[in-house]
């Protein structure tokens, strides 16, 4: 066997390491590491134009077994198309978060829910403040009676074109139908009003309709005047989900 000097073997090992790193990166499907990389990935997958990040939020979440995971939430725009997406970060690159793998798109503006707040992105640069009104509506009862409730949420500016509208989460699972809807939080009410007993079940097993909840975002100027209103929507399953 040919005898290599230590220097040559070191060089060989580092070259081999580069090859292994490349194979590792390729085996993960060339995941992104930066926000620009995430935007590029979303742009390519969904055939969008150039994506400009508007807001980036990094969250750490601790799971059972002391496992901590970092998530990156990005609001971005491509022309008039606004998009919000989320990646789960790891040492070997970021992956689309399996809990909300599909980016949320909107023309003119977009909103989605994320851990106790509604995030809205759009041309909000001129606004001094913003308010979101989310309307939940119960299916008509046999007597034709309609019930609905509006939740008015104050906006917190996160970036030039992004607002967050935090809401109370609560933790009350609805079993008692005599409860007053006015006492419930948004997720609790959605959980209650948008569920239906599974036909084959015993009445205690429910499924939830894929309903859309209107979400009206109103922008206000310095003097409190209304600047613009955006008619957006959220899904009931978005609101119900715990993440």
């Amino acid at each position: 066997m040919r005898h290599w000097s230590r220097g040559r073997k070191t060089v060989r090992n580092f070259l081999l390491s580069i090859l292994l790193v490349f194979l590792l990166y390729a085996s993960q499907g060339f995941p992104p590491y930066t926000v620009e990389g995430m935007c590029r990935r979303v742009r390519n997958d969904y055939l969008l134009g150039e994506l400009e990040p508007l807001y980036v939020q990094r969250d750490w979440r601790r799971y059972s077994g002391n496992q901590s995971v970092r998530y990156t939430t990005v609001a971005a725009r491509s022309g008039e198309t606004y998009v919000i997406f989320r990646y789960r970060d790891s040492l070997l690159g970021s992956r689309r978060d399996w809990r909300c793998p599909e980016p949320v798109f909107g023309e003119g503006a977009v909103c989605t829910k994320h851990e106790g707040a509604i995030y809205a992105a759009g041309p909000f640069g001129e606004a001094a403040s913003a308010v979101a009104v989310v309307r939940a509506q119960k299916n008509p009862e046999p007597n034709g009676r309609m019930q609905s409730r509006e939740f008015t949420l104050e906006g917190e500016r996160l970036a030039d074109q992004v607002f967050a509208f935090p809401y109370e989460v609560g933790g009350h699972y609805m079993e008692d139908e005599d409860v007053d809807p006015a006492d419930l939080t948004l997720p609790e009410l959605v959980d209650w009003w948008y569920r239906e007993p599974v036909p084959s079940g015993d009445g205690t097993v429910y499924s939830w309709a894929e309903a859309e909840l209107p979400c009206t975002v109103t922008l206000y100027g310095e003097a409190g005047e209304v600047l613009e209103t955006f008619e957006l929507s959220l899904t009931a399953s978005d609101i119900r989900s715990w993440w």
């Binding site: 580092f14 390491s17 993960q28 499907g29 060339f30 997958d45 055939l47």
Partner: protein, 259 residues
């Protein structure tokens, strides 16, 4: 005399700053020393004399040590150690990823599909987006045999009409090109009639027509893809259109001589 040799070895190693090599230096010098002793014993020298001469021949311990220190440079030694650990760790990580991680892509399958990708035939419909080149070719209508999702109905009379799509891009930074029906919101028409995605209606009933993106004999390389869109129709079509609304891209397929 053996103790003398050990003292000599220790003196040599004291000069060598890269400690992890002390053991191998000692083994190598000991081999030389013992070979020399054996040679002298074969020549008939008494053992004590042979060991004394062999030790003398090894030279001055400080000089030998300094010479070895120049060869066994600490920075190179540590770099070498680091490179070994790095290669081992990366190899184990890759092996573990390939073995265990469900996210890991099949390097061999993707590479094979990339290399074995068959180009679209000449003259088929072509369109380009900022990111992709796309081609669409019509296939022969046949009696509906079911997809992986949707079985034929009793007394089935519908047809399945495959459309083959080729997609090619220039980089590998994408993830979901294999799910165009979900991510591109395709709009499909046959002879001007919109064809909905899937053949199950929202209420669980079966529609008469629909389309599926069907991997069938697909190829999913790193930058080259080929998959099928399966139209489920009641009559053979004359013309089908596949539109990607987000980019305004339209691909067409036409069947000559269709009714």
């Amino acid at each position: 005399m053996r103790n003398s040799f050990q003292i000599w070895i220790n003196a040599v190693c004291e000069q060598v700053r890269f400690r992890p090599d002390h053991r191998s230096i000692e083994l190598e010098l000991r081999d030389h020393y013992e070979d020399h002793v054996q040679d002298l014993l074969r020549l008939g020298r008494p053992r004590e004399l042979a060991e004394e001469r062999a030790l003398e021949a090894m030279g001055n311990a400080q000089e030998v040590g300094r010479a070895l220190d120049k060869v066994h440079k600490p920075w190179l030694g540590w770099l070498w150690e680091v490179s070994r650990v790095l290669v081992l760790a990366l190899a184990l990580l890759l092996a573990w990823k390939l073995w265990k991680d469900t996210y890991t892509v099949s390097l061999t399958k993707k590479t094979w599909d990339q290399l074995m990708w068959t180009s679209p035939p000449f003259g088929v419909s072509y369109a380009a987006t900022d990111y992709l080149d796309l081609w669409l070719a019509p296939g022969e209508p046949e009696f509906y045999a079911g997809t992986y999702w949707d079985d034929p109905l009793p007394g089935e009379t519908r047809l399945q009409v495959p459309l083959t799509v080729w997609a090619q891009t220039e980089d590998v930074f994408h993830e979901h090109l294999v799910s165009p029906d979900q991510h591109w919101n395709l709009e499909v028409t046959a002879d001007g009639r919109p064809i909905p995605h899937g053949s199950y209606a929202g209420d669980g009933s079966t529609r008469n027509s629909g389309y599926w993106v069907y991997d069938g004999p697909g190829q999913y390389g790193w930058t080259r893809y080929r998959f099928r869109i399966l139209l489920i129709l009641e009559e053979p079509p004359r013309r089908a259109e596949v539109t990607i609304p987000r980019t305004g891209t339209v691909l067409t397929a036409e069947w000559e001589g269709a009714a």
